[in-house]
Homo-oligomer: 466 residues x 2
């Protein structure tokens, strides 16, 4: 069934105009929980029949374990398969563990090869192999092929269902093949022209068939095609499809034979996934924290960065201990520790965020390090001088001491300069060593700049006062 | 011309297999700069002819002002219009300011209504009105209609070119209309079935026409349709299209008449834009900093948060001044100021990031505040206790003082608890008051938690020691 029209075929009665979105407020949830408690199957089935699979998935994620199993058990395998595609992994795994492998086999039969492979990858290995034994041989072969590709590559997100035609096919024959393909429930976006060995030669949007005379040969109507290799990183595929405004892209092997295709709805998920991942890493979450993750799992995802930060701040403590003489002599220097740390942290995050995002979307390239640093120097000087003048003013008013004010001001300028440049440079460094630069932003840069900033600040204090 | 195949029609010669992406390394740029200096038009035209408009845009962004004007001047209006669509605003505006309004009129004629409206909105108002006077009356009316919608709504990103058919049209008639539509250079995704007043009744993917007998009426083959209202926020449109895997969605007015359509390639841009915006706000950038923004503009975008942070850290300074007696009595308490601040900051960013992202993608709803806080309390207790035990150990080893170690440990636990809950709660608060929660993450939460954390820390110190 075509992805794009599934929405409109089920769950949206013809009389419904405009968008139908179920408001999953606490009230509706309470009602549904009541119905589950009362075992009111008929009423629940009635409600579920009106819901889109994506909304049923939403509903299930908002229920307890028993409720989830109960509601999922009510679904027919066709709907169940759509709902499974939409569920968070953390909800999906326990649900799958509960279902008989016969039911799973039925559900897998309803899925496209890419979704089937994702689902089977989530199963316990004994269930997975039993399911692979029972589904159709062709499907099993496709799924096993897909499962060999790393999850975040073109091969990992492609579907193997592809509409192939030959150079010598006429438009009329191509239409017949497209009808056959659609009957099997696959999306009709593009058809791909291949030679006898399966090598990709060109493509044509299926809708363009209506623009051509029935007798024309595919070789005369096909268009050149952009393809991606199976091991291309999914983020690169997303950037490419976005850059060239592609709705779907064929995936080829080393011999340029077409082995699958990626459609833009998968890419939308990739873009969101990658953006969420960047944000998570910037915020210091190690691993993917889902809104529905358990307290225990959430703690485990957050703890590593907190511990790394802990160790980093021990360095800061050592710096302060080293300079305790200055601290004792001018106790007021302690008052501006938070300012020095925060300004360094903020300036560093600002410069690193723009580089991290730029590297992710391809707007910043590795070769531009020098140019970038030059620009960041200018920005840091501008803002650093403004902030320094302010802090000089504040501390003069506060302590009536020009020397102290000048020392704090000078330190702040140096700290902002250092933090901005460190913030911009570290992501380049990580990218060069093929580490995701997103981990550089947030806690990592802040912690580094805390220790460096305090070193600079108390270095100046000691130089000038001791 | 269909968006999705434009790539394959120009810039990718038939002999080209696989992906052709130009590597814009410094070497190629240097070569092109040489050619510009030598005024080698023919050679440059040769290179440009082989490039995709998106790549030409990339190239132009990497040139100086004169180079930009020179290369852009070489382009024919058909290519120039595609290149303009791909350029950053900061590059586009000065380029447009240089071009005669006749040339702009030519370029606008090549664009879809949505891109034309975006472009005209960027022109100085006198040029804009002259362009609107010279383009075709129908185009001008469309563009002016579009310019009335706020930029970030469904109306602001839709195109007005829509393939309309009637209930009583046969498949054969619909095919004829689709051919007519394609001849004007528009994308063939979906056709929309409307009544005499233009009210939207159903839709059909154009490719599905080949599946139907030519004599069937549209009323019998059309499918129910999901539409969005013109003033829906673009982020909501993106979430909806992603949730229901839609390739395009029609936009309707208050009377349910179709006034435009949004295709998924625009939505991909929206998703990236919104993710970038979230990341920028988390990093404390006010306004959109582009990689190519000038030093002056970049400074201006970054300064507001630095100044707000500055003011916030003055509060921290006041807290420390207030507690200077404790600081003097136990100088060692200063050593852990960075730790207290950093742990509060990091814990706060972690809990806020997950709420901010969840609110943006619709996974977290306003009504879930209580549930969320409960969970965050559990997470903060778990990690807070672990960190407290560590810091107790470290400070005991360091100072051999149980009371001091216990005070620091207890403070750290309280600070992590407070910061985590503040971090999770503030985004809910902002969302309730319709302020983008993304501004809550990063500097804002960190600064708030700095002052609160120091208050807690020295509050405990004072209670226990003075």
């Amino acid at each position: 069934m075509p992805e794009a029209t599934r929405t409109t075929e089920r769950g949206f009665p013809t009389t419904e105009r405009g968008v139908r979105t179920i408001e999953l407020d606490e009230e509706l949830l309470t009602d549904i929980r009541e119905l589950i408690k009362d075992n009111a199957r008929a009423l629940l089935l009635n409600i579920l029949a009106d819901l889109h699979p994506a909304d049923i998935a939403d509903l299930i994620e908002n229920l307890g374990d028993d409720g989830r199993r109960y509601v999922f058990g009510l679904l027919q395998s066709e709907v169940a398969s759509d709902v499974l595609r939409e569920l968070d992994e953390s909800t999906r795994e326990p649900l799958l563990a509960d279902i008989s492998h016969e039911k799973i086999t039925e559900i897998v039969g309803e899925l496209n090869s890419d979704d089937a492979a994702d689902l089977i990858a989530d199963l316990p290995s004994d269930v997975a192999s039993r399911v692979l034994e029972t589904i159709e041989a062709e499907d099993a072969a496709n799924v096993q092929k897909l499962m060999r590709y790393p999850e975040d590559t073109a091969g990992g997100i492609m579907a193997t269902e592809v509409l192939r035609v030959k150079m010598s096919d006429t438009v009329k024959m191509a239409i017949r093949k497209a009808r056959e393909f659609a009957k099997q429930g696959f999306e009709l976006y593009n058809m791909y022209v291949v030679d006898d060995s399966g090598e990709l030669l060109g493509s044509l949007p299926v809708s363009d068939l209506i623009l051509q005379g029935p007798g024309r040969k595919m070789r005369n109507v096909m268009k050149p095609v952009v393809s991606v290799k199976a091991l291309m990183d999914q983020e690169e595929v997303a950037n490419l499809m976005q850059k060239y405004d592609l709705v779907s892209v064929p995936v080829v092997n080393e011999r340029n034979q077409i082995i699958g295709r990626i459609t833009v709805d998968d890419i939308v998920d990739v873009i969101n996934e990658e953006a969420t991942e960047d944000i998570e890493r910037m915020a210091g979450l190690v691993g993917s924290e889902e809104v529905s993750s358990s307290v225990f799992r959430t703690s485990r995802i957050r703890l590593p960065w907190l511990l790394l930060g802990f160790i980093g701040e021990m360095l800061s403590a050592l710096v302060l201990k080293e300079f305790h003489a200055s601290l004792e002599t001018i106790l007021a220097s302690a008052f501006f520790i938070p300012l020095i740390m925060a300004m360094g942290g903020n300036a560093g995050i600002q410069s690193s965020a723009i580089v991290v995002r730029g590297l992710a979307t391809g707007e910043v390239r590795l070769g531009q390090l020098g140019k970038r640093i030059g620009k960041e120097f200018g920005v840091a000087m501008t803002n650093g001088i403004i902030l320094s003048v302010f802090i000089f003013g504040v501390s003069y008013v506060w302590f009536s001491d020009v020397r102290f004010g000048a020392t704090v001001g000078l330190s702040l300028l140096a700290v902002v300069l250092n933090a901005t440049i460190v913030g911009a440079a570290i992501p380049f460094l990580l990218e060069r060593f093929k580490i995701d630069p997103a981990i550089a932003t947030g806690p990592f840069i802040t912690t580094t700049n805390d220790a460096l900033g305090l070193l600079i600040y108390f270095g100046f204090m000691t130089l000038i006062y001791l």
